[in-house]
Amino acid sequence: MPPRDPDERLLAALRPPVPVPGDDDHADGEHDDGDAGEHRGVDRDHDGDEGGDDDLAAIRRLGAVARDLTDDDRALDEPPAALWAGIAARADDEGNREAQAAPITATDAGAPGAPRTAGPAGALGAARRPGVSRSRAARTGGTRWLLAVAAVVVVVAGLAAAVVARGGDEPSVVARAEVLPLDGAVGAPATAEVVEEDGGVRRLVGVSGADLPEPDGFYEVWLLDEDAVGMVSLGPLRDDGTYEVPGGVDLGAFPVVDVSVEPSDGDPRHSGVSVLRGTLS
């Protein structure tokens, strides 16, 4: 019988679980993992609800991490004094580049025949910065405009491609990735490709997750940026392994193919639990 006082419940959750007869020793670790997964995504509904199941799961996980702490974990190394100067200088550089790059990007994108179709490498460098680092307000404000521009570019590119390549060439492979199971995940390595059809439509092919176990929820396919901070959903995992890459998405900025396990909780965000990953090049 668990304690009724919420504070007592917190303490109990923090401490090693009392072994249940019949359970073997591995139950501890597995239990913690399960808690962590279950906890994600639903947490926000329970904020402030002390002693709720999610809170107890989070506390249990915290206790498990804390129990493993070593003196090494507690002893931090002092970074070299020059390290901050390096960061500051690079941040300044990027800030300046961003200031210069923003108007140029806009002109490029607006010009008919702009090299949007040139492939993933085209828009890598400077053009990526403003999109990523602009403030949320600016991004939201500019979204409609950007979408309009993107639509024009896609149409123009589509027409150009249709004129040039009438009669339908083979779709060309514009990028390729070895998609491998992440540590601890099950699944076979696979080669994923992004092909571009003559209409300019790009498709990611080869991500079917054939060997993945039945998920608790569903699998979702993503393109992540290199920092795994920004991401574009390509939708749930499909048996045919084929996904359309949305027109405006710059593969240079989102080069990482990622497959995650998503709980069916209605939260559209990435669960944080990835099983397969590979980088397009």
Binding site: D7, V65, P79, A91, D183, D227
Partner: protein, 219 residues
């Protein structure tokens, strides 16, 4: 205008942010303990400033969490690559500052989550360079992203969170973690009122779990 070193002093004093420990000599002096804890409001101020991309917030974040990120990087990739990885972490975080959401977890956790990927990238680069030399064959090329790196990241962010606590509070929390004592016994042991013990432990646990949740917020 970026978060440059030339103007950071101005930005920070405008924000009224206090630097973290490790840089000190400049603490505001209102703390009873020499190793005074950084309180929640202070932490929140940095987090909010960082999410907003406020000038000076990158430096404030570095002063607070640079040691944690650097130490973690150094243990995984070694001293030669640790500088570069630490720089990458803070620059990546700063570029994506608007994606940081303090409601989903702490900045320390979020930065550590990014660091986890940066060290994995660095290891992978190194691994590829090695593999080019060895060319041992496809099947051995599993991604070098050991689970213990992730576990170490979690431990280090929690260790750092504990170190941030005021020493008297840390004592209560560690008794909560590492002993079988009840709240009453912890109160007795530390000589603090029961109500204080309960509320401080509750509050500290809420603070600490945010670090793990911040890590979860980066896939």
């Amino acid at each position: 205008v970026g978060g440059g070193h030339g103007s950071d002093g101005v930005g920070l004093s405008t924000l009224g942010l206090r630097y973290g420990r490790g840089v000190d000599g400049d603490t505001t002096g209102d703390e009873p303990q020499p190793d005074g804890g950084r309180d929640d409001a202070d932490r929140r101020a940095v987090e909010v400033a960082f999410a907003a991309g406020t000038e000076g917030a990158l430096e404030a974040a570095y002063r607070r969490h640079g040691r944690l990120v650097y130490s973690f990087a150094r243990r995984v990739v070694g001293p030669e690559l640790a500088d570069e990885v630490t720089q990458d972490v803070f620059l990546a975080a700063w570029r994506s500052h608007h994606r940081f959401d303090a409601d989903r977890g702490s900045l320390a956790g979020w930065l550590t989550g990014i660091a986890r990927h940066k060290v994995a990238d660095a290891l992978r680069r190194q691994y590829r360079a090695d593999a080019r030399v060895e060319r041992a064959g496809r099947l051995t090329l599993a991604e070098p992203e050991p689970a213990d790196v992730d576990a170490m990241a979690q431990r280090m962010v929690i260790a750092d969170g504990l170190a941030e606590l005021r020493p008297d509070i840390r004592e209560m929390v560690e008794l909560a973690f590492y002993s079988d004592l009840t709240h009453e016994q912890i109160a007795e042991r530390t000589g603090r009122p029961l109500g204080t013990v309960k509320s401080q432990i509750r509050r500290s646990l809420a603070t600490l779990r945010r670090h793990l949740e911040g890590m979860d917020a980066t896939p």
